[in-house]
């Protein structure tokens, strides 16, 4: 039983991170019907900017004296950096193709992914880069269950980000404009909503969330590597499809499910196959219910 609960907590932690990445896929798809294959690279870029900023602050000795402040600053800087990066990518690689076939933009996204990933490799090197390890040492032990402070931080941060995103999309005026743009771009410009701005905002938010996940994954596993965006990117994509692509609540749910399945699969079936489960789910969803869990029937949480 302890083992089950332990796995459950690990599953939520991982699933929350997948959910953060999956939101970027689903929101961009909702607004411009593009699978942004370069999205995983924003996650990787986040992991790197995070480690650079945190290492710098450690070097200054600030991390020991002001850990919370440092962490907040690195999240803010990293998310902002990746948001700008994504807005730039959209302007350069997708916007000029908006009137072309969807395949053109899709190929451009693939190209962008390769470009960004190689850019990261060339500027940061091919070897792992270690995160400062003095953050969040220690853990809570209840019976046979251990939860590290780091895990608690990740769970809280993920929760806060998901709640903020939900509030933004479903409770604010700009969120309403986002949903309107996803539903009918011509009509939304007839009520004076600028689709360009909404599209930029969507990319910025999606990349910001992925970047936050990038830092947390870096902290969780202790290091980052230039190609770290690939696997989590595809798994988060699977999560978005599982939830019903375009559907925000679906992406959150899909992320949690994929995280759970991966952790439980690794724990109870085989650790060797942990990366396979997400793909089995992806294929099964595409085969049996391509609209995903929240697709079609439960429509109201789509962007």
């Amino acid at each position: 039983m302890d083992y089950f609960i332990q796995q459950f907590i690990n599953g939520i932690t991982l699933g929350g991170l997948y959910a953060l990445i999956a939101l970027g896929y689903t929101m961009v798809y909702g607004v411009i019907q593009l699978i942004n294959f370069a999205h995983g690279e924003f996650f990787a870029a986040g992991g790197y900017v995070g480690v650079i900023v945190l290492s710098y602050l450690t070097g200054l000795g600030l991390l020991e004296t002001h850990p919370v402040l440092c962490l907040t600053a690195s999240f803010a800087l990293t998310m902002a950096y990746c948001a700008f990066l994504a807005v730039g990518v959209e302007k350069v690689a997708y916007k000029p193709l908006r009137k072309q076939s969807r395949l053109a933009a899709l190929l451009s996204a693939l190209g962008m992914s390769i470009f960004l990933s190689n850019g990261l490799m060339l500027t940061q090197g091919v070897y792992d880069k270690a995160y400062p390890s003095e953050l969040f040492q220690g853990m809570i032990q209840v019976g046979g269950i251990t939860i590290s402070y780091l895990q608690i931080m990740i769970l809280c941060m993920t929760g806060v980000l998901l709640v903020c995103l939900n509030t933004l999309v479903f409770k604010t005026k700009i969120g309403m404009a986002m949903r309107a743009t996803a539903q009918d771009k011509i009509m939304s410009s007839l009520v004076s909503i600028s689709s360009n701005r909404i599209i930029s905002l969507t990319f910025a938010i999606g990349a910001g969330l992925a970047a936050a996940a990038g830092i947390m994954v870096g902290l969780y596993y202790g290091s980052v590597r230039y190609d770290m965006g690939f696997l989590p990117g595809i798994k988060a994509f699977a999560a978005a499809v599982l939830g019903g692509i375009g559907n925000i609540t679906g992406a959150m749910l899909g992320g949690l499910i994929i995280g759970m399945v991966e952790v439980f699969g690794a724990g109870y079936i085989s650790g060797e196959y942990k990366d396979v489960f997400a793909f089995i789910i992806l294929i099964a969803v595409l085969y049996f219910k391509p609209t995903g869990i929240m697709g079609e029937n439960i429509d109201d949480t789509r962007v």
Binding site: M176, D184, S189, L190, V191, S192, I193, S194, R302
Partner: protein, 238 residues
């Protein structure tokens, strides 16, 4: 008097399809002007080009004396040029209330928005009973009312309407035309009305234009068009 809206020899196309081949028309402040014409004549394209949605290849569009061709579509509602498009285009997964709020998207005057909200709910009481309902679940008539109400929330000076009577029961059509008449009378709102139902449109309007395959073939006072032999044969089913 200066026209508030003027199209000067406007050409537009969809790829190789030439939809507008030199449309010229004028709308004066406070007027109701009707555009009638058969399917595919280019009526909707004329409105979409005016609103900056369909780009124009040639010619110019003037609003309040200034060229607006080439402006981003989203700038025009702020200037008071607003459209109730063909097919209503309600945001299907937004509530009735949200649809109305979006009509006032650019506005910052909270109190004014509240007041206008009350006003459109008074104009269309059915909408008040459905504020939380999703737009897509409304009936056709209710959607048309919502589309008009949403446009009114923008506080237009010139309202373009594309076939507001399409597919609606006579009673609702009557109600909608009453309201068109009303906002024109009481607020002096200028209205450019596209209709297949030529009879209805020409009765409501002061002047009318007849469109055929992308060109204006006739323009006159509405009651003259209404009594014109050719028009009666071609568009009034006689």
């Amino acid at each position: 008097m200066e026209p508030i809206l003027e199209l000067k020899d406007v050409y537009s196309s969809y790829g190789s399809i030439k939809a507008l081949k030199g449309i010229s028309l004028k709308v004066f402040p406070g007027e109701i002007v009707a555009i009638i014409g058969a399917n595919g004549a280019g009526k909707s394209t004329t409105l979409m080009a005016t609103c900056g949605i369909v780009p124009i290849d040639k010619g110019d569009i003037l609003y309040q004396g200034k060229s607006i061709s080439g402006l981003m579509a989203e700038k025009l509602p702020i200037m008071g040029l607003c459209q109730v498009p063909e097919g209503r285009r309600i945001f299907p997964r937004l509530t009735v209330h949200e649809n109305l709020e979006l009509g006032a998207f650019y506005r910052k005057d909270r109190a004014g928005i509240e007041k206008d909200m009350e006003r459109v709910y008074d104009l269309f009481p059915v909408l008040r009973d459905r504020t939380k309902q999703q737009g897509g679940t409304l009936s056709g008539g209710e959607q048309q009312m919502l589309a008009i109400a949403r446009a009114l929330m923008t506080r237009p000076k010139v309202l373009l309407m594309d076939e507001p009577s399409l597919g609606l029961a006579p009673l609702i059509v009557q109600r909608i035309f009453d309201i068109i008449h009303d906002v024109n009378e009481s607020e002096g709102m200028t209205i450019l009305l596209v209709e297949q139902n030529a009879n209805l449109a020409l009765q409501a309007a002061q002047r009318g234009y007849v469109l055929e395959t992308g060109t204006v073939t006739m323009e006159d006072d509405a009651d003259k068009l209404l009594h014109n032999e050719e028009i009666r044969k071609a568009y009034l089913g006689e």
